[in-house]
């Protein structure tokens, strides 16, 4: 699945993507009451582990992420920054009591990675429901949108690449 994400990143952003060694989720990120992990803590850990010659980095985790005001999040990114984090926890069919579907999980992960990296290139949410930069607050919306930028967002991202 990581290889699939790697391909997705390389073909979308015309770059070379490297799979790095895994890092520990900081213990302090766990919120015992919510049984979820504070996304910002993990994002900070990712930033700490970013090699200097890296343009963008995205951390992929299996733990359930949150920020204080939201019930859960699929991912978080530094707007116009370097790093992002994506969780596969709620991209997995098993989370919804459905049989495992590796292909679907890969597709969803690809979309979320492209979306978060889009934010790191300074892109904000797009009103086009099919665009990968469209905001999704549920898995259904993740499935509805495509894994590509719309025309407007493509123009914007091409300028930044």
């Amino acid at each position: 699945m990581l290889e699939y994400s790697q391909d997705k990143i390389e073909e979308t952003f015309f770059c070379t993507a490297k799979i790095m060694d895994s890092i520990e989720v900081p213990k302090t990120a766990l919120n015992a009451e919510r049984k979820q992990y504070l996304s910002t803590s993990i994002l900070k850990a990712v930033i700490r582990h970013t090699p200097d010659d890296t343009e963008k980095i995205v951390g992929i985790t299996s733990v359930d992420l949150f920020v204080p005001v939201l019930t859960f999040i699929f991912g978080q990114a530094q707007l116009d920054g370097k790093a992002a984090v994506v969780s596969i926890h709620r991209l997995d069919q098993k989370f919804y009591g459905l049989p495992e579907d590796v292909d679907l999980l890969g597709l969803r992960l690809g979309k979320e990675i492209v979306h978060e990296l889009g934010h790191t290139y300074g892109l904000v949410h797009c009103v086009d429901g099919n665009c990968v930069m469209h905001f999704s607050n549920s898995i259904m919306q993740v499935d509805i949108k495509e894994d590509k930028f719309c025309e407007t967002c493509t123009r914007e991202i091409t300028e930044k690449l």
Partner: protein, 330 residues
């Protein structure tokens, strides 16, 4: 959890009839021969009975509880004693049931029309609802909207908006009366930011207020805040129901107004409010603003996914204060 299509029903049937004949269980039955004391005139009764009982009800009218699956195209009985743990109608097994899945998909379609989140909108959800659980309910007020379809409700990312109301930028709604007064209340977004409201102090009647002046005090557990008036005018009335039972506002913030104003300059006020499509766009923008946060160490970040938390008391004090300052007229 139990399957939402697992239904129980009282079935009435006539024991005198040679084959089991169901009698519809509705209000009309009180006029029927079976219940009004006239059953002795019934031909089926006469065939089998020797004498009438003391009751008005026919002794051959039997009532049994039946369990059935309402997702199945035809009424399909469910046994009372389910010993098989894999039985699809038992406990959580229903999620694996094809009939349930089919109905669930239908529900999703309906939900999309309501602009809601399908996973919160399970079929027949209103059947499991007990009143006044809305602040904790995973259906996020969808039920309030569904049960009051007469209102023109819009859902923006899980936040309810009533079309036909005017909205002030800092999450107050205004409803224009025929007498040119304005009823004011807190919108769904503003209410969710505050969490459970436990008390309110409303201004005196006939008080004149200026725009920006402190208007009322809201208490949320051990947090409290003063809201400032967005408009100038006279307080015509305050909602005394709220002072008696504050929980009403938690249930449905659009049903419970706080103040009725006689505005000093109605036309000017209305110009400053959002209405219709503009209101929807404004709310969309504000919901999106919830996702963008400034954290000193990592700069501005965007968080994707989820809905606004149901219980803000889990948010720490400084985060809550930031939210209130950003989104409410304090």
């Amino acid at each position: 959890m139990k399957c939402p299509y697992f239904e129980e029903e009282i079935v009435r049937f006539c024991e005198a009839y040679p084959i089991r004949k169901e009698i519809p269980y509705d209000s009309n039955i009180s006029n029927s021969l079976c219940l009004d004391g006239n059953y002795t005139k019934c031909s089926e009764f006469q065939k089998v009975a020797r004498r009438a009982s003391d009751s008005k009800k026919c002794p051959f009218l039997k009532e049994v509880v039946m369990r059935y699956c309402s997702a199945y195209p035809v009424k399909k009985g469910i046994p009372f004693d389910i010993s098989d743990n894999d039985y699809l109608c038992k406990g959580d097994n229903f999620v694996k049931c094809d009939e349930y899945q089919k109905k669930f998909k239908e529900g999703e379609g309906k939900m999309e029309k309501l602009h809601g989140d399908a996973k919160y909108f399970q079929p027949n959800f209103w059947k499991v609802c007990r009143p006044r659980l809305c602040p904790n309910c995973p259906y996020e007020g969808m039920c309030v909207a569904a049960s009051k379809m007469a209102r023109d409700v819009e859902f923006i990312d899980g936040f309810m908006l009533i079309n036909g109301f005017y909205y002030y930028d800092k999450h107050l709604w205004f409803d224009l009366g025929r007498d040119d007064t304005l009823r004011m209340g807190l919108d769904d977004f503003g209410k969710k930011i505050l969490g459970e409201i436990t008390g309110i102090e409303l201004p005196e009647k006939s008080k004149s207020v200026d725009a920006g002046e402190v208007l009322l005090r809201i208490i949320c557990g051990d947090r409290d805040l003063k809201l400032r008036s967005p408009i100038a005018g006279e307080v015509k009335r305050t909602n005394s129901k709220l002072e008696k039972d504050i929980s009403l506002i938690n249930e449905d913030p659009y049903e419970q107004w706080m103040i009725r104003f006689a505005p000093a300059d109605l036309e000017e006020n209305l110009k400053g409010f959002y209405y219709g499509e503009e209101a929807q766009k404004w709310l969309e923008r504000d919901v999106d603003r919830l996702r963008y946060r400034v954290e000193s160490e990592v700069g501005v970040t965007v968080a994707d996914g989820g809905a606004f938390v149901q219980t803000v008391d889990k948010i720490d004090e400084s985060e809550w204060e930031n939210l209130v300052k950003e989104f409410l007229p304090v």
